[in-house]
């Protein structure tokens, strides 16, 4: 009883924050300049509402829920990948040469994920939809996790002054790394019951954590991406020039 109440509370909390953030982004000027976070939030809300409706109408074991669940999951991972690409673009705003390299890298990664996921066709060609979608969604999920970590390292490396982007990247990290770490714990631990309960709470908690970090970043932290440019002179050269004076 208590667990289901907490679970519903988490679910409704996520709905409210998602809807609030979408409204805030739609009303502010960030809609035209920052469409991808809005697209991701919309995907999260639409997927959650569709799943809740179909689950209520048809039940967990129904084919309808199965197809809706994996179709919306496909939508979510594609949105997440686009979101990470957008974050890379924003991080490389003043580094055109780096952005050309990163863009090509992201294209190659997407094509390779499609190819590797397509290997499942060789094992099973009767049920293409579920097996390909399982493979593709999970591979792209972990790709987003790795790319987001690389992006965080890149932000540290280029000494980015865009605080809002840093927080948005951290939020995505919470959502992707949290469930993966919990799932790894489930595999490692022998206390299966405790681990399963932890796993059922971890994913909604991580989503809630991401939404709270995003809410803080979007509402409280000023968007300085278009104003702040990385200094043309490297920091080390600047410091040595000061010493020479």
């Amino acid at each position: 009883m208590g667990i289901s109440v907490a679970s519903y509370g988490l679910q409704y909390g996520c709905f409210i924050i998602e809807a609030g953030l979408i409204l805030y982004l739609a009303r502010s000027n960030q809609l035209k300049t920052r469409p991808t976070p809005l697209l991701y939030l919309l995907s999260l809300l639409v997927a959650a509402l569709m799943r809740a409706f179909v689950l209520h109408e048809y039940g967990l074991a129904s084919r309808q829920y199965f197809y809706v669940y994996w179709s919306t999951d496909f939508l979510l991972v594609i949105s997440a990948f686009l979101l990470v690409c957008f974050f890379f673009r924003r991080a490389c705003r003043h580094e055109e040469k780096m952005w050309r390299f990163v863009r090509l890298l992201l294209v190659f990664i997407f094509v390779l994920i499609l190819g590797i996921s397509g290997l499942v066709f060789s094992r099973n060609y009767k049920d293409l939809f579920p097996y390909f979608v399982f493979e593709f969604n999970e591979n792209l999920y972990f790709t987003c996790l790795v790319l987001n970590t690389l992006l965080y390292l890149l932000l540290q490396q280029i000494d980015s002054a865009d605080d809002q982007l840093g927080l948005l990247v951290c939020g995505v990290g919470i959502q992707f790394a949290g469930p993966a770490a919990t799932l790894a714990l489930v595999h490692l631990t022998t206390a299966e019951r405790f681990a399963q309960a932890l796993n059922s709470f971890a994913i909604p908690l991580c989503t809630l954590g991401m939404l709270l970090v995003w809410a803080y970043a979007i509402v409280r932290v000023p968007d300085t991406a278009s104003e702040v440019a990385r200094p043309k002179v490297p920091v080390l050269a600047e410091a040595t020039a000061d010493l020479n004076v």
């Binding site: 679970s7 988490l10 679910q11 996520c14 999260l44 997927a47 959650a48 799943r51 809740a52 689950l55 967990l60 074991a61 129904s62 084919r63 829920y65 199965f66 669940y69 994996w70 919306t72 999951d73 979510l76 991972v77 997440a80 390299f101 090509l104 890298l105 190659f108 990664i109 390779l112 994920i113 590797i116 099973n124 009767k126 049920d127 579920p130 399982f134 969604n137 999970e138 591979n139 999920y141 972990f142 790709t143 996790l145 790795v146 790319l147 690389l150 959502q175 469930p179 993966a180 799932l183 790894a184 489930v186 595999h187 059922s200 994913i203 909604p204 989503t207």
Partner: protein, 52 residues
């Protein structure tokens, strides 16, 4: 051309890293039941039996 090949190799390295992490975390190696990880906290539906 050299840059293109190097970028492709880097992309391959990233993708193989991701697939390896996925296999470690989800346990999809031979003989193990896959544990699904997905975005969103909704209950994961059971996999229907394959068509005969």
């Amino acid at each position: 051309m050299k840059n293109l090949v190097l970028t492709f190799l880097l992309a391959l390295l990233v993708v193989l890293t991701c697939v390896s992490i996925r296999r470690m975390v989800c346990g999809t190696s031979a003989g193990q039941k896959p544990a699904l990880v997905a975005i969103g906290g909704d209950p994961v539906p059971p996999v229907p039996p394959p068509k005969k």
